[in-house]
């Protein structure tokens, strides 16, 4: 061999080669030598690796809310070949089979068990079988019983700092019932809210309380992983205004502040209006459908310029041939996956406007999240629970 290769291949060449390998091989190659181990564990390498694999593969993880028949497995389905299903076991100790995925970024899932006496949260990377239990403080709002506190969760990835954050909002709204003497009816008057917000950062592996003066929103989504412009988004109702208004509440992962975004202006006359927010081609998007029997109309709105209310643009309106029950997921390739009819799964493309039936295993009530082969959490020192 060429003596000028310094007997060994320069590290940048090794890096370039290893980036092309799937995680399973990289995990094995941790034992080649210390240099390789340090390289594979390096956060910059890990980031380059999931970026490369995210550009290559479009995987989606199919999962049931609540574990599949208590088998603690996730089912992975490949976006390109939906029939191909791969099962991934999650070796958790504590779950009560009612886990939901709050969100997923770069192969890292935030899983919450909402039905334990207090919310239990995990971060998990199933492809390297690593997970971390997040010990969130019990939401403590002085003078308010735990059972009367509403909890909302959010999960997001901040690219610049390469950090993952979990947001836990705990709040209690108070008000009073007022009798209306003219109609002999009584109605509820919102007076205010007591809230507490905690943020967990994976980089620091700690929770921190965020001071929020006022949290005047009732949040409809218990969990959200809708990330646009470094902010996590939830659909909410603004309570402290004279006319209560539906809007989107946002939390900026770096500045750690709440803001709000107005919905597009559409007729709110029909009571049966269903909305779902998601991300299409990096834009905040809103899927709306009116549920008026026997007709149903769907609209897709996209916010072309982030944060600018007037930039909401209606991409299309259509009447589907089956009743849509709910939108499950906005996929990376511009599809909206819908549940419809009697356990049917439909994919609606944001551009083509055509509705396609997708043969996704229909046996289960399921949800869909993005999945990427990644090494995130490799350095987690949490004791591995053997599956």
């Amino acid at each position: 061999m060429n003596p000028y290769l310094l007997e060994r291949l320069p590290l940048e060449l090794v890096t370039a080669i290893l980036l092309l390998l799937p995680t399973k091989d990289l995990v094995r190659f941790l034992c080649v030598c210390k240099t390789w181990r340090d390289l594979i564990r390096d956060p910059i390498f890990i980031k380059k690796h999931f970026r490369y694999w995210a550009s290559k593969a479009n995987g989606y993880l199919l999962y049931k809310s609540g574990w599949l028949e208590q088998s603690r497995t996730f089912r992975l389905l490949c976006d390109k070949v939906p029939e191909q299903v791969l099962e991934i076991e999650i070796p958790f100790e504590h779950v009560t089979y009612e886990g939901v995925i709050v969100g997923s970024f770069n192969g890292l899932f935030c899983i919450a068990d909402l039905y334990t006496p207090r919310t239990t949260i995990y971060l998990s990377n199933p492809c390297i079988r690593k997970q971390r239990f997040i010990n969130f403080p019990i939401p403590d709002i002085p003078g308010i019983k735990h059972s009367r506190i509403s909890e909302v969760l959010g999960f997001g990835y901040h690219d610049q700092t390469n950090d993952y954050k979990i947001i836990r909002i705990a709040y209690h709204e108070y008000g009073k019932w007022v009798e209306d003497h003219t109609s002999d009816d009584s109605f509820y008057v919102y007076e205010g809210v007591k809230s507490r917000v905690d943020v967990y950062s994976l980089n620091s592996n700690s929770c921190r309380r965020i001071e929020v003066d006022n949290f005047p929103w009732t949040v409809f989504q218990v969990t959200s992983g809708v990330l646009v412009n470094n902010s996590v988004h939830w659909m909410a109702l603004r309570r402290d205004l004279k006319d209560e208004k539906f809007m989107i509440v946002t939390f900026h992962l770096e500045r750690e502040v709440f803001q709000q975004i107005s919905f597009p202006n559409y007729s709110n006359d029909d009571a049966d209006l269903w909305e779902c927010i998601g991300v299409l081609e990096e834009n905040l998007s809103l899927f709306v459908f009116h549920d008026i029997e026997p007709w149903q109309t769907c609209h897709l709105w996209v916010m072309m310029e982030y944060g600018v209310g007037s930039s909401w643009t209606k991409m299309y309106s259509l009447c589907p041939y089956v009743g849509i029950r709910t939108a499950i997921s906005f996929t990376e390739n511009g599809e909206i996956i819908l549940k419809a009819g009697k356990n049917e799964v439909l994919a609606l493309h944001s551009k083509a406007r055509d509705i396609q039936e997708r043969q996704i295993q229909k046996k289960y009530e399921f949800n869909l999240v993005r999945y990427v082969d990644s090494l995130v959490l490799l350095n987690s020192d949490t004791k591995l629970v053997e599956g």
Binding site: C31, V32, R129
Partner: protein, 163 residues
């Protein structure tokens, strides 16, 4: 590249390998080596260039690769046919000994030939994909600097990957 080369006499460069062998290459081939293209663009290119990190055996292969790519790309064939042709050539070109592959990869990095670098990296990655740890150490000429206990700990932590 520049249109003047078609009419005037073809510019040639002399590339000298580590072991002193001199190769004569046309400009269209030489510019595929990003290091040389930069020299030419900066008007610093001398007709005689010494390449200290590449042996004659490897440099001959590199030149063969660049020549084929230069000819195919300028041959006036349709893009799809050229693509197919390059694919076939690349596949055959990669059918060499592992040590040669490693040296080609290193040379492509040093001479800054992006397509050859990516090709060799891809080939090496697929070669080592299912190899055992011992085979990989041998191929990359790396020494196991773990103690028995340390290596055992890693193998235990990720036992599922070794099944």
């Amino acid at each position: 590249m520049s249109s003047s080369t078609e009419l005037t006499e073809k510019k040639v460069f002399l590339l000298k390998s580590l072991d002193g062998v001199i190769f004569e290459v046309e400009e269209s081939v030489a510019v595929q080596l990003e290091v040389i293209r930069e020299l030419i663009e900066g008007d610093c290119a001398r007709p005689f260039i010494s390449l200290y990190n590449v042996t004659s055996e490897i440099l001959a292969l590199v030149i063969e690769y660049c020549k084929h790519h230069a000819e195919t790309c300028s041959g006036g064939t349709s893009a799809t046919i050229a693509d197919e042709d390059l694919k076939t050539f690349d596949n055959e070109f990669m059918n060499v000994d592992e040590n040669i592959l490693l040296e080609l990869c290193s040379a492509a990095d040093y001479l800054d030939i992006k397509s050859l670098f990516e090709l060799t990296c891809r080939t090496l990655a697929s070669l080592i994909k299912d190899r055992t740890i011992i085979e990989v150490r041998k191929m990359f000429n790396v020494e196991n600097d773990f103690s028995v206990v340390e290596e055992k700990a890693v193998r235990k932590e990720f036992a599922w990957a070794f099944k």
